[in-house]
């Protein structure tokens, strides 16, 4: 019996994946050229799977801000927020994010994963109840492993399923905390947030929404699904990340709760890790300014979503349920998904491939994520390439089906 025996099943599946040629989990970006281009396997490749929704990783103003910060304050803080790692800029970033949401308080974390892990596991404690969507991100599931609260899952995006579980708790003492996501990362679908909020209000439950994939992309000001659904005031906690639309790394949580700051000395994922380096804090602050100043990036992003989603759908691909900055393409099984993924890479297009157990309901997916700075031509070319491969693999018909392209 070796230490790794318990992973025998996974090892075997992983070996299967590797026999197809490239290993999707060991892809090297040999050189990143722009938000939408990189050299992979020696070839210039179009990137359509990087969560870089506004393309801000190469925004000159963000890059300059980061470089200046390194010159002024060095490469790292070498300490946590509760020791030597709180600089004026961290505090200013927190103030700016709080203002962006119109909330009173904000805490910044070193990663989005840590924000969810720390906040969720700490908010619900012994005697409380944590209710999570079945398709929740790994960081939410991991928070559930750390909490002393009782955790119950409800069916994905199903307010009635949540309500049944809140009702069953009856008048048991203990807080109820409901965890939702603005946009789900695999299929790009949004929560019916208004309906969820109504259910939570009725049962006196706190609402936490993770806007990791919806910051920037949803809402009139890019605040996310809470803004778009008009329920920002009813969402007690909003969590998000700097590693997608804002083009860097880090996480945050905002709230109006007057005692929110106590989390600074209770959330271990905040207390016992080094704080964000000055360069990241500076580029994120600038990226937030860009998000506020350039709403056209949101428009461009959604135009690109429409080009890809409607284009693929018209060819007969099975996609996630609605338009979203993530477009999930369903494929019948793991082998097809990995073969398809590899064929796309050979044709110069990189997307993510997602296979069980990382996906809901055991589906195999190509996970595409759009960028505001993709061109229409790039995406039309991608639809063409995918159509060719799809026909070759027999996953779409040889002629476009007769229905009109739908979607939201």
């Amino acid at each position: 019996m070796g230490l790794f025996d318990r992973h025998a099943g996974l090892l075997e599946a992983y070996r299967d994946v590797r026999t197809t040629g490239y290993d999707p989990f060991q892809i090297r970006m040999e050189r990143v050229l722009s938000p939408t281009k990189a050299v992979i396997n020696g070839r210039e490749t179009l990137l359509v799977g990087t969560n870089n929704y506004f393309g801000l990783t190469f925004d000159p103003s963000c890059m300059e801000a980061a470089i200046e910060a390194i010159r002024a304050e060095g490469t790292g803080t070498t300490g946590s927020r509760i020791a030597n790692g709180s600089y004026s800029e961290h505090v200013m970033l927190e103030k700016e994010i709080a203002e962006f949401y119109g909330k009173k308080h904000c805490m910044v974390f070193t990663t989005g994963y840590q924000a969810n892990l720390g906040v969720i596991s700490t908010l619900a404690g012994q005697g409380d109840f944590l209710l999570i969507d079945a398709d929740s991100h790994a960081s939410i599931y991991d928070a559930c492993k750390m909490t002393q609260a009782e955790v119950v899952r409800f069916k994905h995006n199903d307010p009635a399923s949540l309500e049944a579980r809140l009702r069953r708790l009856g008048d048991k003492p203990g807080h109820r905390v409901v965890v939702l996501e603005g946009i789900y990362s695999m299929l790009g679908d949004s929560a019916p947030l208004r309906e969820f909020v109504d259910v939570c209000k009725k049962h006196g439950a706190y609402v936490l929404v993770d806007e990791a994939h919806s910051l920037g992309s949803l809402g009139e000001h890019g605040r996310g699904l809470c803004e778009q659904a008009g329920v920002l005031d009813d969402c007690h906690f909003v969590v998000g990340t700097f590693s997608k639309t804002l083009g860097a790394i880090g996480g945050y949580c905002v709230s109006d709760d007057p005692d929110f700051d106590i989390l600074r000395v209770t959330v271990r994922a905040y207390m016992f890790t080094a704080s964000l380096p000055p360069s990241i804090v500076a580029s994120v602050r600038q990226a937030l300014r860009v998000v506020k100043a350039r709403p056209e990036l949101r428009t461009q992003l959604w135009d690109n979503v429409a080009t890809l989603y409607d284009g693929l759908r018209a060819q007969g691909f099975t996609l996630g349920p609605e338009h979203g900055p993530v477009v999930g393409v369903h494929l019948p099984d793991r082998t097809t998904a990995i073969g398809f993924w590899r064929a796309m890479l050979d044709a110069g297009i990189y997307v993510n491939v997602a296979v069980p157990p990382a996906t809901p309901n055991g589906v195999s997916l190509l996970r595409c994520s759009l960028c505001a700075v993709h061109t229409k031509e790039q995406l039309e070319h991608m639809v063409e390439v995918m159509t060719g491969i799809g026909r070759q693999f027999g996953v779409i018909p040889n002629q476009p089906p007769m229905r009109a392209a739908a979607g939201r």
Partner: protein, 104 residues
């Protein structure tokens, strides 16, 4: 399957729920679990009370949790994730459901 005196239909979209005040026999709960597990059976050996769900069948942990959600709605109970983690056999799952219903 649907008889008015033993099943209630609540909120469109939720499966039929056996409301908690009605007693459910152990055999009934086991039969329901076995029906859910049938697609994951390997070989000829029928699924029974002593079947170890994660080991004797081809079901993965995520599918187990999804099945539990269906059973929760069917029997009007909620099974915390930490409790699910401790359940190994069909019998244990059935007993957990019946105990939670009794607590109701």
């Amino acid at each position: 399957m649907r008889t008015a005196h033993e099943l209630t239909v609540e909120n469109d979209g939720i499966v039929d729920t056996l409301i908690r005040t009605q007693t459910v026999s152990r055999a009934e709960v086991i039969a329901e679990i076995c029906a859910h597990l049938e697609p994951y059976r390997t070989g000829e050996k029928p699924i029974a009370g002593d079947t170890v769900i994660a080991k004797d069948l081809t079901i993965d942990s995520l599918a187990i949790m999804d099945m539990v959600m269906e059973l929760e709605d069917r029997f009007d109970v909620s099974i915390p994730m930490s409790v699910i983690a401790e359940i190994h056999t069909v019998d244990q799952l059935a007993d957990t459901i019946r105990e939670l219903r009794a607590e109701g």
